[in-house]
Subunit: 470 residues, 2 copies
């Protein structure tokens, strides 16, 4: 092999050793230097190229590290056969997913959320801009439990809106309620048995299941979760949404709450997870203060989200842990970095402090009440009224519609599909069997704009064969 | 009890039934209506106030639901005693946390990250602004695995920078690497036994432990993870960072990678997690293509993060799953919402597409090289050089410094503290015992600005008692 010569002037702004490394590497890959060829010694190469010995040594070291050459003690450096590695490129199979152009319906009763067009984007953008003006403050790593500024703002908001006494130190901010449930289950341990309302928030069962926790479904009655059946369940943690049960909208009355406190105070390892989700949208506001405010023995874990009140694409939720759990979290789980970017935490703090949040809530509640009144009026005056009952608790975003019909669920769903409606069946939220002869629907009306309501109701009538003549 | 009279004109924009509800509720709370008092019948009340029967019925129903009144069949409505509930407010204990004013050092060798002042905030703000101009597009819920636009951009970037063939459908975006590990462990199941490099990324052990997965520590040699010991470990999943091992900076050579493929292809349930973290910052770029590109049997899970290359407060990481795992994810875990806000996903896609990302990487690499050259120069010419060896692999952000000393670790740490230095000990990253007589330090230099380096080295010399005369 002829002595290697490289145009060192072409090295650009790379250090010399790197450039030399690349030249030799390329020659080995292109077989200009054949497998097995001996390379010039470092000293010879350095003299030949008129560079320092260190430069050659650094280049050779890199080549050896990566396997392009091997160094045999005393006898020198030899090129390796890298053709296999350099050329063989695994043909990667692809997972062929149906991408997310999810079906758009004329009316989607499953979409339990307000239309995104109502989000105060200008105000939010202003707050984001404020965040970026924070300079380096917004770039440094936030604490594991969230930005102090946001936790302080949330604590103040909870005091003002719900009379809750919360220390920012007890708040943990995370990217969505599901994420926080995951952490919480980990904190409570694999042995924790989780009770949940039936019907209720089904995703919690899925999360608990995949975390390896046992679940128990506890039926509800017209006052919410049946505490008598909770006693029998051997669960030690219960998830409830006392302010606004989904999908019934029931507010748990005071007496039932007291019963629940009775249960939790019976054993040391029991906890109540109070999910206050969407309670901002109750027409009558927060009627009964959260259970958290009456939690003498510090057994209530309060959880809420901004993804519902603002817009689902902003992933910010929080939980308030009782002191003992918070201490355990700090000791065993504070290595988990906060999952929400600091930009959005700053922006949200600003959004709340500047009053945009409260204004948005008030505006939304007003709009929801109009939608609510309109859809109830239409439903009560349409042919469907003769065979349907409405169960309604001023929940602000949904109510129940029970239609007396012998049609099967499948028939109903198919007819709805023809009308471009996506129905939400109560039975999807419950594990216990429903009575026959009735089709119970969850009417999530938050996403149905008022002007569409008459047509939506007309189509619903058609689905249940009461509207043929319209 | 006198017949209740309320100033209905004061109701504001509330519906009448709500206003009536509030009036009666307040009277019950304030004992104007005493516990046990019978309320007027709905009909009497309606007549008295000159409102519709429905209005009174709705108000009474809410009062009953919430427990302020009870309805006895036929005999009427009675006020309840709610003083207990209305007044008793649990004094909430607080978890007294030491808030996050974490200690600032003159030099923090543990902070394995570049200074936030180098982040191109203007470019990022422009991209965030672009995102908010997307209007409703940026507000709708993103798919469980991330915004398609960002996944497409990442796939293109991986092709261009690393010759990886990746389908956007196989990418899952999440709020940080820790989050994705959590999901991944869930996907692999509790029975998966996770092998990891020793020394290596300790947080993975903590995450695996809290997920209930067994861990095995596999020693490394100068070529990276010892595959022979991996065979003996009975692990079925191995985590490696072949491009840039932390903290040694070793790049796994081709032959060792082939050995690792040999291991993974031996059994159906084996997987390699290829953590490509920080590989962008190697001075010589991506020298060997990722193992992913040679993964004939589709057993490599590729994972990387933008939180390291950009700034730790932006929480965006991603993983590329092999088809079989992706399918399982879709079937069993796609109910988990994406944890990254869509604003930041749009902004990052824009940031990459507009070339800001590559420019930032190149600029950072250049700066790191200067810091690297400067600190090596200073170390090699200082008194410490007589008792210290440097192990260096062009990792771009760190190298090892072994100091021959009989001082104990505690002595060293205390002396460093006096000099306002936070040292990073190699032994913190390994479970296997270190030889005595040597103190091995990890020199993370990414955060040490060049002008500070001479003083930092002077202080280091003092710590090891070699610099008294300076």
């Amino acid at each position: 092999m002829a002595l290697l010569t490289y145009p060192l002037a072409d090295k650009g702004d790379r250090p010399l050793y790197l450039y030399l490394y690349e030249c030799v590497r390329d020659d080995i890959v292109n077989k200009k230097i054949a497998p097995g060829d001996k390379l010039p010694s470092k000293r010879v190469m350095a003299g030949h190229l008129n560079v320092s010995l260190n430069t050659v040594a650094a280049a050779y070291e890199m080549l050896a590290t990566e396997g392009y050459i091997i160094s045999n003690e005393r006898s020198g450096y030899f090129a390796q056969d890298v053709s296999d590695f350099a050329k063989r490129h695994a043909p990667r199979q692809k997972y062929e997913n149906i991408e997310e152009n999810s079906r758009e319906y004329f009316c989607d009763f499953k979409a339990n959320r307000q239309g995104v067009q109502h989000f105060p984007m200008d105000a939010w953008s202003r707050c984001m801009k404020q965040a970026s003006l924070q300079g380096e403050n917004v770039l440094v790593t936030v604490p594991y439990n969230g930005l102090l500024k946001l936790r302080t703002t949330i604590a103040r908001h909870l005091k003002e809106s719900r009379d809750m006494d919360v220390s920012p130190a007890n708040i943990i901010i995370g990217a969505g309620t599901e994420y926080l449930y995951g952490r919480l289950l980990q904190l409570l341990g694999h042995d924790a048995v989780i009770a949940m309302e039936d019907p209720g928030y089904r995703k919690l069962a899925a999360i608990s299941g995949s975390a390896g926790n046992e679940c128990r479904y506890i039926p509800i009655d017209d006052k919410g979760l049946r505490v008598d059946m909770l006693h029998e369940s051997r669960a030690n943690v219960v998830h409830v949404s006392p302010a606004n049960h989904f999908p019934t909208g029931i507010t748990m009355p005071i007496a039932r709450r007291e019963e629940l406190f009775g249960w939790v105070n019976e054993a040391e390892d029991r906890y109540i997870i109070e999910d206050d989700y969407d309670s901002e949208f109750r027409f009558s506001g927060q009627l009964i203060l959260p259970m958290y405010t009456k939690d003498v023995k510090q057994r209530v874990i309060y959880i809420n989200t901004f993804s519902k009140t603002l817009v689902p694409s902003i992933r910010i939720s929080f939980m308030v842990l009782p002191p003992a759990l918070m201490e355990r979290y700090v000791q065993t789980m504070n290595f988990y970095s906060c999952t929400v970017s600091s930009f959005e935490q700053y922006a949200l703090a600003e959004f709340i402090e500047e009053g945009y949040f409260i204004r948005h809530i008030n505006r939304t509640r007003k709009r929801l009440r109009e939608q609510h009144d309109c859809i109830l009026r239409e439903l009560k005056s349409c042919p469907l009224a003769d065979i349907a009952d409405i169960t309604e608790h001023n929940a602000g975003t949904h109510f129940l519609l029970s239609v007396r019909t012998e049609m099967s669920r499948q028939q109903i769903a198919e007819r709805a599909e023809e009308q471009d409606l996506n129905l939400s069946f109560y039975s999807d939220y419950t594990v216990f069997a429903q009575a026959g002869g009735v089709c119970e629907l969850v009417i999530n009306y938050a996403g149905i704009d008022t002007e569409k309501i008459p047509e939506v109701v007309r189509r619903l009538c058609w689905v249940f064969e009461t509207g043929k003549e319209i």
